[in-house]
């Protein structure tokens, strides 16, 4: 994984731009916080980076936060940033770290020793469903067709994804197969080091189906390149309601790849409530709607204790599946 971070200068430049944008926006009569610093556990341009910058942009443009700054801290699959949050807890006022489903997966596999329990949970803010797609010219029309081909071809039926075995794309495909009554361990999962390369693998005919994020799937389906066989939402997603859910095809499973924010351990309840109220108020603003629509994100609102029980559930589901797959 190659990661390129930001220079201090770049951070300052980006912050300046954001501040300038913020200044042009509404008056700050409803300002909740003066400033907010975001820690991004990966390089510039990734999903975490986009979430932090988008959220910061919406918070400053709407006047909820005076200014936002960002710091990229790559390494250890996010472990370096978590470590930083824990070790510097005492001095991290007004600092939020962005993270997502991998924090659950990677602490289960022991990539880093900490888990979400070692941080202060603020809120899950956005989500993306997962989807299984085939090329648009494939004979497979729905999940029935996919399962029939799978029964026919056995291990020759290859399902690819942009994550390591035991990573999110693999787990989603395995969950779908399990819910459809197949043995998840039998699935021939082909890993690629990036979603784009997995997509090229699908279109070149190297793999038969692809497990990917729903927003990427929509972009390619819009261009007539792929057919979405199923989405992991419980009900059809309004933004793209021609894509059927797995549930309506008799496969009882749902999954959401959440993204959310964490504060340093030991953050006071008062401060946590302040973070939560800033993020909650953000949902109502036009500035957020701009950012959300631009990125194709789905709003999920999962603050504080709800966030904890959601993460505990997800940890259990993923942990059980990974045990069955032999990763734990």
């Amino acid at each position: 994984m190659s990661t390129f971070g930001w220079t201090r200068r770049a951070v300052i430049a980006a912050a300046t731009v954001t501040v300038a944008l913020g200044g042009a926006a509404q008056a700050d009569d409803h300002q909740v916080m003066e400033s907010l610093h975001f820690i991004v556990p990966g390089g510039a341009g990734g999903g975490w980076d986009g979430t932090a910058r988008g959220t910061g942009e919406a918070l400053t443009n709407s006047g909820l936060v005076g200014s936002a700054s960002f710091e990229n801290m790559s390494g250890g699959g996010g472990g370096v940033a978590i470590n930083y949050m824990i070790e510097n807890a005492a001095s991290l006022d007004n600092t939020l770290m962005v993270n997502s489903t991998p924090i659950v997966i990677r602490s289960l596999t022991g990539v880093f020793p900490q888990s979400f329990r070692d941080l202060t949970l603020v809120a899950g803010t956005i989500g993306d469903y997962a989807a299984i797609v085939v090329p648009a010219d494939s004979d497979i029309e729905g999940m029935d067709g996919l399962l029939a081909s799978y029964a026919d071809q056995g291990p020759d039926f290859a399902v690819g994804g942009g994550s390591v075995p035991g990573g999110m794309d693999h787990l989603v495909a395995a969950m779908v197969m399990q819910a459809a009554g197949e043995a998840p361990t039998e699935l021939n999962y082909i890993p690629y080091d990036a979603g784009g390369k997995a997509m090229a693998g699908l279109l070149s005919g190297e793999i038969d189906a692809l497990s990917t994020g729903f927003s990427e799937a929509i972009a390619l389906a819009d261009q007539g390149e792929v057919r979405i066989l199923g989405v992991t939402a419980e009900e059809r997603v309004p933004a793209y309601d021609t894509a059927p859910t797995f549930m309506e095809q008799g496969i009882d499973m749902s999954f959401v790849n959440w993204r959310g924010f964490f504060a340093a351990p030991g953050t006071s309840d008062e401060k946590t409530a302040q973070y939560i109220s800033a993020l909650e108020a953000m949902y109502e603003t036009d500035a957020w709607e701009d950012v959300r629509a631009r990125n194709g994100w789905v709003n999920i609102w999962n603050p504080g204790d709800d966030f904890r029980s959601f993460l505990e559930d997800q940890e259990k589901v993923i942990g059980d599946l990974m045990t069955e797959l032999g990763f734990l």
Partner: protein
């Protein structure tokens, strides 16, 4: 198509968009010159600015300008300081740096500028004519062929075999391949060889290794050789001619012709890219050169500099094919560009050309303008940039050390990188004293991960190594790699035998 081109032309030639190209190229070139800041981070910095423009064509033109500018600027630090900031310019240092060291820095930069311009422009012509048809070429390669292509890329080390260092070069390549296995790979969800250190989990970063292998030993070497410290490291204080001779121009022309096309097609493949294109270009041109020219490779050959410079620029242009026609990013940089496009409500793919032809064509037309602007901006600046080398060494060395350390640090924002850089740099300096070539190590490291991933993926898809025989294109590429490795040593042996035969006869 003609109509599309006209629409694109009128969009790209608006005052606003011309300013965007010029601004993008300038920003890209200057930031790209700093080792450690590659096109990816510069584009990421520029995205918020581009998005506020609101007009997708203008934003993309600005970002594309930054992209070519950064690649263009990146070769400057490679040539002048032996400090390649991006993997795509590593091969440019093989001959560019020796040329600069021998007092021909101006000429080296001019050759790089002209080759880049030619590669980029010919690439843009190919893109304009063939882009729609090329989307199927982009999907031609499976993992098996990518594996074989990486093997062909590794054959670039054969270029170091001529110097009687075959085994040393092989050992260093293997060491590079070993270093590439450190960290959490794409195929296993467990970290390997990290010795429990969290900082090694993402592997050794390219920038850190490149700085440790090339720039740091260079600076240490200068310190350890105090004779001449007072002079400029360009050998003489005078930077001789900026122009290359007519004969050199003639030698470069076929190289540029071949490498523009070869580089472009390698760039079209989403799993390959500018780095592979530059190594392959170097290897192929060395094999095609005659014996006298071959001996020059690695010592400041005009062809050895023109080939990778031309190929990497053509490949960058080629990488727009899968991005624009399929919506598939082939590299980290194009992935960021894709993100920016989607943020501007433009979804690249087969329908982009019909739905929004003005964007598609404006981008392609802006490539021509961008390449021209880069050439016009940079040629007059070359004498001033080349002057860096006439700075006395005792001032230049701290300067190199500063940028080397900074480059490694800002890549990761992680102080451990500095310790690794210094540690690896000391090892590299020892290797240099022992006369082991360091470039093969870097080639092995860069290609190692892709080699392993594609090999393992093919093994899994074909349940064994059967794919080598089952896929003719894979077999063909592997045979080509074998030929590229064996041909030079076969030729060398035959030449030696003949020489001995003559001696015996006397």
């Amino acid at each position: 198509m003609l109509e599309g081109i006209l629409i694109g032309l009128s969009a790209a030639l608006s005052i606003q968009n011309l300013l965007m190209v010029i601004a993008g190229c300038l920003i890209g070139t200057f930031i790209g010159m700093l080792p450690g800041l590659g096109p990816m981070s510069i584009i990421a910095i520029m995205i918020p600015v581009a998005i506020t423009l609101g007009d997708p064509a203008a934003a993309l033109i600005l970002l594309a300008g930054v992209y070519y500018g950064a690649i263009f600027g990146g070769s400057t630090s490679s040539i002048l300081l032996n400090a390649p900031g991006v993997a795509g310019t590593v091969a440019s240092s093989f001959d560019g740096y020796p040329m600069a060291r021998s007092g021909q820095a101006g000429k080296a930069l001019t050759i790089a500028a002209v080759s880049s311009f030619a590669g980029g422009t010919i690439g843009a012509i190919l893109l304009m004519i063939f882009a729609p048809a090329l989307s199927s070429v982009a999907l031609l390669f499976h993992s098996a062929e990518y594996f074989a292509l990486m093997v062909v890329g590794l054959s670039a080390i054969a270029a170091f075999a001529g110097t009687g260092q075959v085994f040393k070069a092989l050992m260093m390549t293997i060491l590079g391949l070993i270093l590439a296995t450190v960290g959490e790979g794409a195929l296993f969800n467990m970290p390997r060889f990290t010795m429990g250190l969290m900082d090694l989990q993402s592997g050794i970063s390219f920038i850190t290794l490149a700085m440790a292998m090339f720039a740091l030993p260079e600076a240490l070497f200068l310190v350890l050789n105090p004779a001449g410290s007072a002079q400029g490291s360009g050998g003489t204080n005078k930077i001789s001619g900026l122009r290359f001779s007519r004969a050199e121009g003639r030698a470069m022309t076929p190289v540029i012709g071949r490498q523009s096309v070869q580089g472009f097609f390698i760039g079209v493949l989403p799993g390959a890219g500018a780095t592979i294109a530059s190594f392959l270009g170097y290897a192929v041109e060395r094999n095609l050169a005659n014996k006298d020219e071959q001996a020059q490779f690695g010592k400041g050959s005009v062809k050895g500099l023109a080939a990778p410079e031309c190929a990497n620029n053509a490949a960058c242009t080629g990488s727009f094919v899968p991005l624009l026609t399929l919506g598939i990013p082939g590299s980290g940089t194009t992935a960021i560009l894709l993100g920016a496009l989607i943020a501007l409500n433009v979804t690249p793919g087969p329908r982009l050309m019909t739905d929004t032809p003005e964007i598609f064509w404006a981008v392609i037309i802006s490539m021509f303008i961008g390449n021209l602007v880069l050439l016009v901006l940079n040629l007059p600046l070359i004498p001033y940039i080349a002057k860096i080398l006439s700075i006395p060494r005792n001032f230049l060395i701290p300067f190199i050390l500063f940028f080397t350390l900074m480059g490694a640090y800002i890549g990761q924002n992680n102080a451990t990188e500095l310790l690794m850089l210094v540690g690896l740099g000391v090892i590299a300096t020892i290797f240099r004293f022992a006369d082991y070539p360091l470039a093969p190590l870097l080639i092995g490291f860069i290609l190692g991960t892709m080699l392993e991933d594609n090999f393992a993926r093919s093994m899994q898809l074909y349940r064994g190594v059967g794919f080598i025989l089952e896929r003719p294109m894979t077999l063909g590429l592997l045979v080509l790699a074998l030929a590229l490795v064996l041909l030079p040593s076969y030729r060398a042996r035959r030449a030696r035998k003949r020489a001995e035969g003559v001696a015996d006869g006397d």
